[in-house]
Symmetry: C2
Subunit: 249 residues, 2 copies
């Protein structure tokens, strides 16, 4: 098993932010400065084109640490944040750019591209979780949540389905597709699922069908008016409360 290797540490506003690597996978770990023993861990998945050091990630981490008292970990997905891309990645990204420039629907390309990323990301997340649980402030017994929308959900659905340590997940902003629906059908932990009612990338019916496919007895859809990138700020607060309900006995 590979261990967490910390490469930097910075503290601001009560949050300790540490860059780390686990093997060749780089990531970030955000923790409360004044920790009182162990705290639950939330895994934070980034969107397509972003990485673990994107400002939106730090913003969500600050809320989860500051308001929730959680540890929060993010890793760069394959092909993201300077990590090497495969020839397939390059081909799909080129197809995505062509479709966007031509004003064509990008959903099918995003689904295929992200499925390839997720196949590599899921075992990486599991190895990183193994390593993080070796840290004394996290530990192997603590509850674990997963929070990621858009590409973070393309990875989060198969990850949550495969990983029994994840006991609550905030997901959303992604299309229905058979493989993802199959993974959703194996998820039984509580889920909060975001959908944008006027999403220009994810057709409404497709997002609703993916929510419907979740087997969880406790699941909540939060659908807001607006486009793919207009999720209201209060949804991040809602995610903190969701994890507080489910990761704190």
């Amino acid at each position: 098993m590979r261990s967490v290797h910390f490469t930097s540490e910075e503290t601001s506003n009560g949050v300790i932010a540490r860059e780390f690597t686990v093997g060749e996978v780089p990531g970030m770990l955000w923790s409360p400065e004044s920790g009182s023993g162990r705290a639950p861990l939330v895994l934070l998945g980034h969107g397509g084109g972003q990485d673990s050091r994107s400002p939106g990630m730090a913003g969500r981490a600050a809320l989860l640490v500051g308001d929730g008292g959680f540890h929060v970990a993010a890793i760069d997905a394959p092909g993201h944040g300077g990590r090497p891309r495969t020839a397939d990645d390059e081909r799909e990204i080129a197809a995505l750019r062509r479709a966007m420039a031509a004003g064509e629907p990008v959903g099918p390309i995003v689904v295929s591209f992200n499925a390839g990323i997720a196949r590599r990301a899921v075992p990486e997340w599991r190895a990183v979780l193994d390593a993080l649980q070796e840290l004394p402030e996290i530990g192997a017994e603590g509850p674990v949540g997963y929070y990621g929308v858009s590409m973070g959900t393309a990875i989060g659905l198969p990850l949550t389905a495969a990983e029994p340590r994840i006991t609550a997940a905030v997901l959303g902003l992604f299309c229905y597709d058979e493989a993802l629906a199959e993974a959703a059908g194996r998820i039984t932990v509580p889920v909060e699922f975001a959908l944008q009612w006027d999403d220009e990338i994810i057709p409404r019916e497709s997002g609703l069908a993916l929510f419907d496919a979740l087997a969880s007895k406790e699941k909540t859809l939060h659908a807001n008016a607006g486009g793919h990138h207009e999720v209201p700020r209060f949804e991040a607060d809602s995610a903190v409360r969701f994890f507080a309900r489910h990761l704190r006995g």
Copy 2:
């Protein structure tokens, strides 16, 4: 204009609960015990078969007063809480009971019955609001919210559409119908809308279509797994936060 006539007063857990009448309409006003000047007002609409003194109403009022610091008012809808029923009311209630006993869909009967109630309830609510705004602790300038699901939405949609003093509303758990959709299309204030994903009374597509009909630029759907009467407790907390965002400058 008729004034508020208080008929009882009780204080518990920091909440003053007063029964009142405005003309022949009976209601309840819940207020913070330690009021620091004026506070926004939330109008609370009850469901079919309930009234302003039902325990669920007192529960929501306690949250809105305790956590939000609001004044909260409820009135008994026509034909509810001991108020006289018309011959039409009696006919519709008998039809509703027959359909329930026979296991037939009750949606169309509920829509028609509640539309009749709403036609009488909307002017009553507006007169009660006039009277409540004469009270020094409420005042005519303060922001007003409306919170009611199920029959509370059958009344709340036309009320919110007609009443410019209402600047935010929590609604939901009701069917699409043309008259209600027309009212929804005139609503532009922020709305939080509840839907139960497995509602045995409101077909899912019908509830989604009613949410879609709202003209509000800021609207959020909260859809939870479970039946009509299984709205999770945390949705009441969410409503308090929604009103705190919108009724407090």
